[in-house]
């Protein structure tokens, strides 16, 4: 029976997705709003079920639930629900109100839940592909728009490449370790050295495949283009849920099955972290589109979170999870603001369009300023705590140079975050943006309240992330 409750959320998500797909197909009128709302509720219920699901490994070791998967699943659900709430008006304005949108998001979430809970390389790959396929379609969702189609194609080609690399890596690991189960790989890597050589190559491929998806440099090239080209409602989703899911998987895979080989992959992860922080900081400086800016910003954020993985300790995992949780909230708030940027119902995304926002719409300006300061890591906002925890983990693990680099890039990044605030507050202008709809305002409001008030009560998140981190470390007998 416990097996049933463990897989119930997945079954629920998948069945609900199919039911909604059918109802969308056979409905005579356009029910996309209702389907969006129901999807939100379904994901919320699924998140509740995921939290309630009993801890343990089921289906002959293919699928696992523990504190870590719960933490990650809730973040994924949060990102997805936020993105859904942001999408309604935006999609209507640019004429892509189709019921497939929420359904695709639902399928993607299903894939992510499988991905996060995978306890076997095969489950991992299946989850990975379920989410990726849905995401490819979403990127090209505004199919009459050239940029969106381009973004979709780019994302598909590079995504397919990364899937290929991942699969190749998996096959190598299987070949040398003789098993696809996480525990088995961990045992194999811990015991005989011969397997380690070949598996290391496989491990690198797996790492690269996953790095593509979280847009860690140097595998980041698609990010700014896809962020810019895809409809903003899709970008908001891309920036949150998939990144969390794949990052959580990365934490689990690297510290779980590949945990014994930490000496082999640590330098690589450090390199990824360093490159991401530098590219995220430097690349964003000259951007004029706020969507591209956010693309580079997310590359940088992944770099900071990777610092936690590079630490390779429970503290590091906990730091990375805290960072991701805060990142989701900040991203939703920021994309809420970006989605609210439209003029005559046409979306605009130049930073210069924000000039004079502080007098025109003080609340909007304040919210976006809070997000930007938080992303720059200025205390007392939430973003600072994220940085604090990963820096702490990195220094405790003896990665002081990485932390110093993180600080340098923080200062560079602060420059472009400040530029957004500067344009809103210091430059005169008549933005004349359309009034915000209430769903978007709600998301922005909740996100800013979270970011502003986090400092008053950080311990809940810390406790949860520590539990999650211990679940990761304990599951592989560290």
């Amino acid at each position: 029976m416990s097996t049933f409750y463990t897989v119930l959320p997945i079954l629920f998500l998948a069945v609900a997705g199919m039911v909604m797909l059918m109802s969308g197909v056979f409905a005579r009128r356009d029910h996309s709003f209702a389907i969006t709302a129901v999807t939100g509720v379904v994901i919320a219920i699924a998140a509740r079920l995921l939290v309630a699901a009993p801890t343990g490994t089921v289906l002959h070791g293919l699928y696992q639930t523990n504190d870590f998967t719960r933490f990650a699943d809730v973040l994924v659900a949060l990102g997805a629900i936020g993105a859904l709430a942001l999408s309604v008006t935006f999609n209507r304005n640019i004429g892509i109100t189709r019921f497939e949108f929420p359904v695709l998001i639902l399928f993607a979430v299903t894939g992510m839940v499988v991905l996060v809970s995978a306890n076997d390389l095969i489950t991992l790959y299946i989850g990975f592909e379920i989410q990726s396929l849905a995401l490819y379609v979403l990127a090209a969702f505004a199919r009459h728009n050239l940029r969106s189609s381009e973004a979709g194609l780019k994302y598909f080609v590079l995504g397919a490449l990364s899937s290929g690399l991942l699969l190749y890596g998996i096959s190598l690991v299987y070949g040398f370790a003789g098993t696809t189960s996480f525990e088995g790989i961990a045992r194999a890597l811990a015991s005989h050295q011969a397997a380690a050589m070949g598996s290391t190559v496989g491990l690198v491929f797996v790492l690269v495949g996953l790095a593509f998806k979280i847009s860690a440099a140097p595998f980041h090239m698609w990010t700014p283009d896809v962020y810019e080209g895809a409809p903003t409602s899709v970008t908001a989703f891309f920036a949150t849920a998939p990144k969390i899911a794949v990052f959580a998987l990365l934490l689990r895979v690297m510290l779980g099955p590949f945990g014994p080989a930490i000496a082999q992959w640590r330098d690589l992860v450090e390199l990824l972290a360093a490159a991401s922080m530098v590219i995220g900081a430097v690349g964003a400086i000259r951007q004029t589109s706020i969507k591209r800016l956010m693309g580079y910003s997310s590359i940088g954020h992944m770099g900071y979170a990777l610092m936690g993985l590079a630490a390779g300790t429970a503290d590091g995992v906990s730091g990375a999870l805290i960072y991701l949780a805060i990142y989701v909230v900040m991203s939703l708030g920021t994309f809420g603001c970006i989605i609210a940027m439209s003029r005559g119902r046409q979306p605009v995304d130049r930073i210069a369009d924000l000039a004079g926002m502080a007098t025109d719409d003080p609340r909007f300006a304040f919210a976006l300023a809070v997000m930007m300061w938080s992303m720059a890591g200025v205390p007392p906002l939430a973003g600072f705590f994220g940085k604090f925890y990963v820096f702490a983990a990195a220094i405790n693990a003896g990665l002081a140079p990485l932390a110093v680099l993180g600080i340098v890039t923080s200062v560079v990044a602060a420059f472009y975050y400040l530029r957004v605030i500067k344009v809103m507050y210091f430059d005169a202008g008549e933005p004349g943006l359309d009034s915000r709809n209430s769903g978007v305002s709600l998301v922005i409001g909740i996100a800013s309240a979270g970011v502003l008030l986090f400092a008053f009560h950080p311990s809940t998140l810390t406790t949860l992330s520590t539990m999650a981190a211990h679940a990761v470390m304990a599951s592989q007998g560290f």
Partner: protein, 505 residues
């Protein structure tokens, strides 16, 4: 005793700022009026609390008073800890005193009044919180949090090149303080707690101390505008609106000096001893070079800004003599400088409000037209150059005594700096008040009004009282300074013993 006085003083301004946003929408003119009054009453209430706190402070007690402690992030050994000792007491008082002054000085501000007043109250929360924090992370948060309101104050309400100044200020300070974050993390990792009282009793190996010292120097040096980390300052001071400049010069610059006293000296004794000559050099270059730079300025505001940097050099020298006299002098000088520089900038503001240019070559002959103003300006200029009878004198003479104990040449060069300061301040006074010939201003100029009296008179009284009765101040922080110096010397000698022991082995 435990009224949570410090928390109250810290969070009251924030509550006031939040309250402003419930008084109506921004388009309504009464909102602006309400915001002004809320800001004034909140900051005055904080001032009253500060007076209560200073009155109830017992200087004979060692260590911290008004201690508060609550859980915050217990898993990481981080807590919400507040408390003051003789050193921080007056900085809390200074912040509480100068915020209402700044609010009152900006009474005529008409652009986005509510945001403006809210920013000042937020600034007060951050500064008071920083001076009373006893937890390193809490300290860091307040220390950095100051950037947010100050960036907006400079950037939104500043002068012509405000954007440049605001961004420069922000990036300099951020770049400076992030190394401190690393130092924080390291010390937390080392001691397992961020409790500052415990950190003061944690021994750190001398090699690491040097690194930490550099990290602290970067962050506190930028904040205190120690040469050569001062380059953001003339821009920020010059472009900020006057009340913003007052807060920058009188309170924010003290944050850096306070940081040296609170962190570098007690926590890193060996490194402090090692870097002492270096810090003297920085301080003296600051005094001498910046004094010449001040002499070359053509704008009053910038001239006073440079004079402020020069005084910070003096304070740094005083702190790093690590003698009782030197540190007391530095503390005294900090309080005095806070009052005097605020008053001088207020005087500049009075000229601005009357439509005067701030260029020295376009001013002159105000002594006969604005006699009361001239008297006040003269008093504060004299206090700034350290005339006996004013608060400036006490600080300077104590620093000199400390410097002579440390090194004769240091004392000599510091003395040279004082002479230079007399030079440029007198040049300024001559150009503003006298120099009839170059006077081009209108014949009818109102002398200072009641609101300006209200601003300047208390500062003038304080400057004179402290000048004639310095004991009132030294009596209170004397104990804390002696403890600090003794602890420092004890740590040095025990460290020396440890090193000798290693050599013997």
């Amino acid at each position: 005793m435990n009224l949570h006085l410090l928390s109250l003083m810290t969070w009251l301004p924030l509550a006031g700022a939040v309250m402003m946003y419930f008084t109506g929408d921004s388009a309504n003119p009464t909102t602006a009026r309400n915001s002004r009054w809320i800001a004034l009453w909140t900051s005055l209430l904080v001032l009253v609390l500060a007076v209560v706190m200073i009155a109830g402070f017992d200087p004979s007690v060692h260590g911290f008073q008004y201690i508060e402690s609550a859980e915050w992030i217990p898993a990481y050994g981080i807590g919400y800890r507040m408390g003051v000792d003789g050193i921080s007491l007056f900085f809390v008082g200074l912040s509480a005193l100068l915020t209402p002054v700044a609010v009152l000085a900006s009474w005529r501000e008409s652009r986005r009044v509510r945001d403006y007043m809210a920013a000042f109250l937020l600034l007060e929360t951050m500064t008071i919180g920083m001076f009373s924090a006893l937890d390193f992370l809490l300290f860091y948060i307040f220390f950095e949090g100051v950037l947010i309101p100050m960036y907006l104050i400079i950037g939104v309400w500043g002068g012509e090149r405000r954007i440049h100044a605001a961004v420069k200020f922000f990036l300099f300070t951020l770049a400076g303080s992030l190394p401190m974050l690393l130092a924080l993390v390291w010390m937390w990792h080392h001691a397992g707690t961020t409790d500052m009282v415990q950190l003061m009793h944690t021994t750190i190996s001398p090699t690491i101390q040097d690194w930490l010292f550099v990290a602290f120097l970067l962050s506190f040096g930028v904040k205190a505008a120690v040469w050569p980390m001062h380059t953001w300052l003339p821009d920020a001071y010059g472009e900020a609106p006057l009340p913003g400049t007052i807060m920058l010069a009188a309170v924010l610059s003290k944050m850096g000096a306070y940081g040296f006293l609170r962190f570098s000296l007690p926590m890193l004794p060996q490194a402090t001893a090692y870097f002492e000559p270096f810090m003297f050099a920085l301080g003296i270059i600051g005094i001498v070079y910046i004094s010449f730079a001040a002499l070359a300025q053509t704008d009053i505001k910038r001239m006073i800004a440079y004079s402020s940097v020069a005084h910070m050099g003096l304070i740094v020298v005083g702190i790093f003599t690590v003698t009782v006299a030197g540190i007391e002098g530095a503390l005294f000088q900090m309080v005095s400088h806070g009052l005097v520089i605020a008053a001088l900038f207020l005087c500049v503001g009075i000229l601005l409000a009357r439509g005067h240019s701030l260029r020295l070559d376009q001013l002159g002959g105000l002594a006969s037209r604005m006699p009361v103003y001239a008297t006040f300006l003269m008093l504060f200029v004299m206090a700034n150059v350290g005339l006996p009878g004013t608060s400036g004198f006490v600080g300077e003479i104590l620093v000199m005594i400390g410097a002579i104990q440390a090194n004769f040449w240091v004392a000599l060069l510091v003395g040279t700096g004082m002479i230079l300061s007399v030079m440029y301040m007198l040049v300024m006074v001559r150009r503003i008040l006298f120099d009839q010939a170059r006077s081009v201003a209108n014949a009818v100029i109102a002398d200072i009004g009641p609101r300006e009296w209200l601003l300047l008179a208390p500062l003038a009284v304080l400057v004179l009282v402290l000048g004639f009765a310095p004991g009132a101040l030294t009596h209170i922080f004397g104990g804390a300074v002696q403890d600090l110096v003794h602890a420092h010397l004890a740590a040095l000698s025990s460290g020396a013993h440890a090193r000798l022991a290693m050599i013997k082995q």
